[in-house]
């Protein structure tokens, strides 16, 4: 399993968790490090390919610049949407303090 531990470290996993806004326990960090390493090991077949001359495909069907006619149509009802939110104030979504401000 030595090769696997080189693939992704526990610190890498902890960093990625921060980026993804997930708090992981020590046990989860260990488990995810091992499991992600196994998946990345499997992906070694892709990593090893020489595909320098191959163009990437982000999307299977060649559609571009999809525009609709500039016509009025129904939209979601604001009250119905806000009724599903955890917290609202003055017809808007409400959140706790941002950037250290007092709420």
């Amino acid at each position: 399993m030595a090769a696997m531990s080189e693939r992704i470290t526990r610190d890498d996993v902890a960093h990625v968790a921060t980026l993804a806004k997930l708090a992981l326990s020590d046990a989860e960090l260990d488990e995810f490090t091992e499991q992600l390493a196994a998946v990345l090991d499997h992906a070694a077949d892709v990593e090893a390919l020489d595909v320098a001359d191959v163009a990437p495909t982000a999307h299977p069907y060649p559609l571009s610049n999809v525009l609709r006619a500039d016509e009025l149509g129904p939209t979601l009802d604001r009250d119905e949407v806000l009724a599903q939110a955890p917290a609202v104030a003055d017809g808007r979504f409400s959140v706790p303090a941002i950037l250290g401000e007092e709420p």
Partner: protein, 490 residues
């Protein structure tokens, strides 16, 4: 081995139900009640549903019967009960993706497919269980507990659309809808012994399908017959201005040409998906299906899609990358769960940590890593290029063949708990289905006999983009040649 809970739909196929309801021979209500009785009897053991909509369905069926009595024709699915995967938005009705993070959420709009089914006279009987956010191959990643395979409740139904597959296999509804990102319709269809169709990317609107991996996701039907799958596709296919990836082309009738056979069609057996890792009994059924197609007038040969074997690695970089982006929206601000904390950043982390299950966290982490600085070119960038290789290899194969053939799943249904500790072993299940999602093409799984364990085997027919017409014709031939249902463990 446990007693089978598999059952034929109590009122026949969707086509039979719609015909007789439109003719006034049966009421939509009596059709519905017969299905609800089946749900009542065995749903406790199967757990196909997150939510059974008995009252809503009765009201909808009664309303249909009033319209029919008044001389109206509700449409080609008149009175047909349909089960919907619980990642399809239903206005005012809880839609959870089998995740705690969406528990209690009631969407403010219907998915386009939900509107189309209702417009054709179908009656929604319930929302079906899935792997959380459609991430999984066994439906064991649901926050609400696993679905069981009706053919053997100790086995998984496959996934992620395991609830929709099990609902049809248990006779709870003659048709259902699922979504297929890496095989999530076809693999559970194979494991549950029903038909499952993944249409060409863009043929069916994704508006209102809660996104997992947007360049791969596609909605499609489960049914007990190829004809019913074609009937549902007739209703749900077509351009939708609400989905900018929807193909702006007219759509043919798939039902109309279903019985034209395979005379003259060239069909290729994908050699890369017939060897290592494929159970011998499954491979044997696929060869028998190939022989049946040949006997019906098709030319069958060996096809090579060399990059198909790279699909798994590419998929497990691309799909998590897209998922990590799509699932960033679950932040406790606009809908679903919020775990309170002093600041917005802490609230978001607390909410996501409490709301997502382990597999969803794993995929978000994998995708975030594959997209992160220093690794983007090595992983995500390379995977996108492999996607090009797969598209090229399929295109080369389709110069010689009209359709391709392979197993749907490497094995029959495995036992609950078998693969949950080792995510990679679970991912390997998707090796035969993933290449189609990466290429954006169409594919269908058709039941064809059983494995040595008596459990259903599915064979997969693949077609180039918008090749559904020929694919369904061949699927009907395979279905007609399949060992009879009575021989499947029941």
């Amino acid at each position: 081995m446990s007693a089978s809970l598999a059952a034929a739909p109590p009122q026949g196929t969707a086509a039979e139900i719609a015909r007789s309801v439109r003719a006034g021979e049966r009421s939509a209500r009596e059709v519905l009640d017969a299905h609800l009785a089946g749900v009542e009897a065995t749903e406790g053991e199967v757990h196909a549903f997150n939510l059974v909509l008995a009252d809503e369905a009765r009201a909808a069926a009664d309303a249909l019967d009033v319209r029919i009595a008044a001389g109206e024709d509700p449409g080609p699915l008149a009175g047909v009960p349909v089960a919907l995967k619980d990642n399809l938005c239903t206005r005012g009705i809880p839609t959870t993706c089998s995740s705690k993070i969406l528990a209690g959420w009631r969407p403010p709009y219907d998915a386009t497919v939900v509107q189309l089914l209702a417009g054709a006279g179908a009656v929604t009987i319930g929302k079906t269980n899935l792997d959380e956010f459609a991430m999984g191959s066994s439906t064991e990643n649901s926050a609400f507990g696993p679905t069981r395979n009706p053919h053997d409740p100790t086995r998984v139904p496959g996934g992620s659309s395991g609830g929709s597959a099990a609902a049809v296999a248990a006779g709870f509804a003659p048709i259902s809808l699922g979504s297929d990102t890496g095989g999530s319709i076809r693999q559970p269809a194979a494991l549950c012994g029903v038909v499952g169709l993944k249409p060409t990317y863009g043929l069916v609107s994704r508006y209102g399908l809660i996104a997992f991996a947007s360049s791969l996701d596609q909605i499609g039907p489960f049914a007990t017959t190829v004809a019913d799958a074609a009937l549902v596709l007739d209703v749900i296919a077509g351009h939708d201005p609400h989905d900018s990836t929807s193909i702006p082309e007219p759509v043919p009738s798939y039902s109309a040409t279903l019985d034209r056979g395979v005379e003259g069609l060239r069909i290729g057996l994908i050699t890369e998906l017939m060897g290592e890792g494929i159970a011998p009994d499954v491979a044997a059924r696929v060869r028998e299906a190939a022989a049946a197609l040949e006997a019906a007038g098709a030319t069958v040969g060996e096809a090579s899609v060399p990059a198909a074997r790279l699909g798994l690695s590419a998929y497990y970089l691309i799909a998590p990358a897209e998922a990590s982006s799509n699932l960033a929206r679950y932040d406790g601000v606009r809908y679903g769960l919020r775990v309170d904390a002093p600041t917005t950043g802490e609230m978001m982390t607390a909410t996501r940590t409490a709301g997502f299950g382990a597999e969803v966290k794993r995929r978000i982490m994998l995708g975030t890593y594959a997209l992160s600085a220093g690794y983007y070119d090595a992983y995500y960038g390379k995977a996108l290029k492999v996607r090009t290789l797969i598209i090229r290899d399929f295109a080369a194969a389709y110069e010689h063949f009209d359709l391709l053939l392979s197993p749907t799943s490497p094995t029959t249904a495995f036992a609950l708990g078998d693969k949950t500790a080792d995510p990679l072993s679970m991912y390997l299940n998707d090796v035969c289905t993933i290449p189609t999602n990466l290429s954006g093409d169409a594919a269908i799984s058709v039941p064809f006999g059983t494995g040595d364990d008596g459990l259903p085997v599915g064979v997969q027919l693949l077609a180039p983009a918008l090749g559904e017409v020929a694919m369904l014709r061949a699927a009907a031939v395979v279905e007609a040649a399949a060992p009879r249902n009575a021989e499947v463990r029941a």
